[in-house]
């Protein structure tokens, strides 16, 4: 996993399209030809022109087709709330792409998404589909209305499974749904979701390699500040440049 030696540009791009998926999740699309981000990568989005909130927000790439770069932002605090209030025609200032990309290999893949963790995994699923890899997309959320991109996911995954904890017939979490799957059918798994979900999934000790897309507060996003440490295989790694994708079994969530 090499670090990008090239300087990363600061871009201010016009928001071309904005769509609300539910009451607190919004998609912002900009046109950014020639960036070609890969699964696992993210951008640092400028929240405010002033100094409060101070830091940029790391938002992963949800889709990139024909130069159209899509970010999906879930409002969880002041920073993401400000991002969600940006309108079509306004500029979105961003740095990136950051993060070590992962290769979408042509393997029988299982994707396990939890909540807003669906965004980077949807991008991965598109790449897997383009490669001709078979992919099962398991997606868990709190309530049915929290499930987004359902139709889009169905178009790129060979098998889909949507589960919610409340308000549906199949009340279960994504991890509980994993129990019902036959692991012999898969060669590799990718996951992204809230930390408790990743911890539960780690405890399942699945017989295939599981790659986790990690999220955290980031400082610079480009490996300089050492603020986003994660304990991985006995040493501290930086989520922003050494990751954000790590093999789940190697992560020590207690450190």
């Amino acid at each position: 996993m090499g670090e990008r030696s090239m300087d990363t540009m600061v871009r201010a791009l016009t928001i071309r399209k904005k769509s609300w998926y539910n009451k607190n999740t919004v998609g912002l699309e900009v046109y950014a030809p020639r960036i070609d981000p890969q699964p696992g990568q993210f951008f640092q989005l400028r929240v405010s022109d002033g100094v409060d909130p101070f830091l940029n927000r790391p938002i992963s790439v949800a889709s990139y087709t024909g130069g159209k770069l899509l970010f999906i932002v879930k409002v969880v605090g002041r920073g993401t709330d400000l991002l969600s209030k940006k309108q079509v025609g306004e500029k979105l200032t961003m740095l990136g792409p950051f993060g070590t990309p992962i290769t979408a290999r042509r393997k029988k893949s299982l994707i396990i998404a939890g909540g807003i963790g669906v965004a980077p995994l949807y991008f991965l699923a598109q790449k897997l589909n383009a490669r001709g890899a078979s992919c099962t997309f398991l997606y868990g959320a709190k309530r049915p209305e929290d499930i987004i991109l359902k139709g889009h996911i169905r178009r790129v995954a060979h098998r889909t499974l949507f589960v919610t904890e409340y308000g549906s017939k199949r009340r279960m979490t994504a991890v509980q749904a994993v129990h019902g799957l036959k692991m012999d059918n898969y060669e590799v798994a990718y996951t992204c979701g809230p930390r408790p979900m990743l911890i539960e999934l780690q405890q399942l000790h699945l017989p295939i390699p599981v790659y986790a897309f990690c999220e955290d507060f980031l400082g610079c996003g480009c490996g300089l500040c050492l603020g986003c440490a994660i304990s991985y295989k006995g040493t501290y790694k930086r989520i922003c440049v050494d990751g954000p994708v790590f093999e789940l079994s190697g992560i020590d969530f207690n450190a």
């Binding site: 670090e3 030696s5 300087d7 990363t8 600061v10 400028r46 100094v51 409060d52 909130p53 101070f54 830091l55 940029n56 920073g79 740095l95 955290d216 507060f217 980031l218 400082g219 610079c220 480009c222 490996g223 300089l224 500040c225 050492l226 603020g227 986003c228 440490a229 994660i230 304990s231 040493t235 501290y236 450190a255």
Partner: protein, 282 residues
């Protein structure tokens, strides 16, 4: 060309220790600033503190990184050769757990760099750090011992926490310091209200601390050696305020977390503000 402690700098805007690692990324930025202050180097490798290491607060961030670095030996073999290729003045930030550490680190690095910054103000380590910088006697003894090891410029980085910077600065200058840099981060903490537990304890930086930093710089303006002022500088205007408070140069810290190219903009803004006197001001 500004000249401080017998060294010429291409401009009075420096990169503060900690936020830009060892300066090997964004070289366009490192090569443009007057001087680059490295991440703190300790005698032995330090793995740093467990996460969470940063937390955003109003107009600032609290960090609890804990001097993660590969130690002086790896620094000399792997980092220094690359640092020497940069087209800026290199100051190594030296951090010790014991007073003797500073001497050993400086001797190991020798004359390979343009100067040293003695970090007696890190709030995030158990031993040494800010504890050394809050006591005039300890601060003076660290500086005196370091002074014996090098003829290179010796800048001492002060803490704003629980002490009078004027007293500490005086003690450091008497002990042989060539310059004073301040401020390091301000002691701070934050709680998680839902879990009813401490979220982070560390050092606050960013625009939130600029007024405190200006006060501290002004407080030591008559210390007799050049002052490098820092704390929440986001613009040329901010930088100019520090010069007005008595600093001869400024250093950019947290601003690069938002935008790694911020120093380039600040250099230009300051140049415009200072007009033709840009160099003479020093």
């Amino acid at each position: 060309m500004p000249r401080l402690f017998n060294v010429s700098f291409k401009n009075p805007v420096f990169l503060a220790s900690g936020v830009f690692g060892f300066g090997l990324k964004y070289k366009r930025v490192t090569n443009s600033v007057g001087a680059f202050f490295t991440k703190g180097v300790t005698l032995r490798p330090q793995s740093g503190n467990p996460p969470p290491r940063i937390y955003e607060t109003a107009s600032g961030i609290i960090n609890w990184v804990g001097l993660e670095n590969p130690g002086v030996e790896v620094f000399c073999t792997h980092v220094l050769p690359q640092l020497k290729k940069l087209r800026t003045k290199i100051f190594v930030n030296v951090a010790g757990s014991y007073p003797g550490d500073y001497e050993r680190i400086i001797r190991t690095i020798g004359n390979e760099v343009d100067g040293f910054e003695l970090n007696i103000s890190c709030p995030n380590v158990e031993k040494g750090g800010a504890a050394f910088g809050q006591d005039t006697r300890v601060a003076a003894s660290v500086v005196k011992r370091a002074r014996k090891c090098t003829a290179r410029p010796l800048v001492v980085k002060l803490t704003p926490n629980f002490c009078d910077p004027r007293e500490i600065a005086r003690a450091c200058v008497d002990a042989g310091a060539d310059g004073i840099s301040l401020i390091n981060t301000v002691y701070a903490l934050a709680y998680d209200v839902h879990k009813k537990q401490l979220l982070i304890r560390g050092g606050l930086s960013g625009p939130a601390i600029k007024p405190i930093a200006l006060f501290c710089v002004d407080r030591i303006r008559d210390c007799g050696v050049p002052i490098i002022g820092m704390g929440g500088i986001m613009s040329g205007r901010d930088a100019y305020e520090f010069l007005l408070a008595g600093a001869s140069a400024v250093a950019i810290g947290s601003a690069v977390l938002r935008d790694p190219y911020a120093p380039l903009r600040i250099i230009n803004e300051l140049k415009t503000l200072m007009g033709k006197d840009a160099g003479k001001k020093m």
